[in-house]
Amino acid sequence: MKLLTTNFLTCAVKTCKTSPLSFPLHFKDATLERTEIDFDPLFMRNLLPRVNWDALTTTATELGLQALVPAKNPVDVVEQSRGDDGDIDVQAEAEADAEGTTINATETNADHEIEEEILRRLHNLLLETGVVEGKLVCGNCGFEYPIKEGVGNFLLPAHLV
């Protein structure tokens, strides 16, 4: 299971939906593996704004990989430096984002400002690093989701659905 995926997974138990403790799930007894995936800067640029950086930091730290996570999401770093210049309407952009509209030229500019080297390193961490064996544990209800051969078992007993 890729680190990418764990950044989006939540506890499936009904009563955990509203609890902030149910995300991210925590690794236990995890064995790491590497898989090679073609690097695609476009995919990384599409994905990064969605990555929850605090959760990624937590997960990486649990796996002993904290050194591989930059302090901030590179998307935010670019965003901020532009905001300081005062020439971009961050508010309007955020609204456009919330509406799900495709973004104007400013995003394209930002895209180019993130160095490819940083994207490559994050590709390596998010898409090529994963857990083959272990468990994911919910911080709220304690339910353990086993991972075998990289496949997470998210089947719930009926009473927890």
């Binding site: 890729k2 995919f43 089947l155 659905v161």
Partner: protein, 273 residues
């Protein structure tokens, strides 16, 4: 022929033997590939995307997503199917053993798109007596809706048992908040392929779906009309060559630009190799 859905629950039907037979059949490979390509065409993605494949099975649908440059996550309830997916080189997606009828365990706005190829009709066969098809459909579509980004689409090709099941499924999608439409390829033939096209839009229930050619908007009223229409004689079957030619004529009259007719008009596309 009896429907697999009526024989056994999916994890038992797709056991080791059946899963291997399914995955190695070149006939099935071709059909699943061409339906996945059709779904991708309907998704109309403009960049490499993060996609959920529901009922991913052994990865026949997912590998088409990889070929197109996307990264996907697959969910399936059959351990045997997932085992085969693990053994196949071309399967790059992250796999989960999960029951779509229990919901979609991802945080809001995770995916750019979702596909499901030949799977969601299984939701109508509840495995045990304490879960109803209605409840499972609701949990599935509510979860799917939440897991998609604003403006995202989902395309579910499925095999409805009858009109009632088709309605039950699309109504559940609409109730979850989706703009929904149904598209049929080879309608009226025994090879008919039904696609539920869903969009996560703001406000307007029909959303982007209404702008897509050949897609029927699903709301209660329209659905009933469509069912009546289906019974009337002499109407061109939606998606048939005759139907497409007529539609093109109409568009031309409205001053729209349409592709010129060719011997391929109204024919299905073959699988991509």
């Amino acid at each position: 022929m009896s429907r697999p859905e009526d024989l056994l629950p999916p994890d038992l039907y797709y056991n080791d033997t059946e899963s291997a037979k399914y995955t190695t059949s070149s006939r099935i490979q071709n059909i699943q590939a061409s339906m996945t390509n059709r779904a991708l065409e309907l998704l109309d993605l403009d960049r490499p995307s993060f996609i959920l494949d529901i009922g991913c099975g052994s990865g026949l649908s997912g590998e088409i997503l990889s070929e197109d440059g996307h990264i996907w996550v697959g969910m399936d309830i059959s351990p045997s199917m997932l085992d085969i997916a693990l053994q196949r080189e071309d399967v790059e997606g992250d796999l989960f053993l999960a029951d779509m009828g229990q919901g979609i365990p991802f945080r809001p706005g995770t995916f750019d798109a979702a596909i499901s190829i030949s799977a969601i009709q299984w939701l109508c066969n509840a495995e045990t007596s304490d879960v109803s098809p209605e409840g499972r459909l609701r949990r599935f579509f509510d979860g799917l809706y939440a897991s998609l980004r604003r403006g995202a689409r989902a395309v579910c090709q499925f095999y409805p048992k009858n009109d009632q099941q088709r309605t039950m499924i699309s109504q559940a999608a609409v109730r979850a908040g989706f703009g929904a439409g149904i598209l049929e390829d080879d309608g009226g033939t025994k090879n008919v392929k039904t696609y539920l096209v869903l969009s996560v839009g703001g406000g307007d229930i029909t959303g982007t779906v209404s702008k897509m050619e050949g897609v029927d908007i699903e709301d209660g009223r329209k659905l009933r009309e469509a069912m009546h229409r289906g019974k009337r004689k002499g109407e061109d079957i939606k998606g048939s060559k005759q139907w497409i030619l007529k539609k093109k004529e109409k568009m031309k009259n409205k001053g729209k630009i349409v592709k010129s007719d060719s011997k391929y008009t109204g024919r299905r596309r073959g699988p991509k190799f």
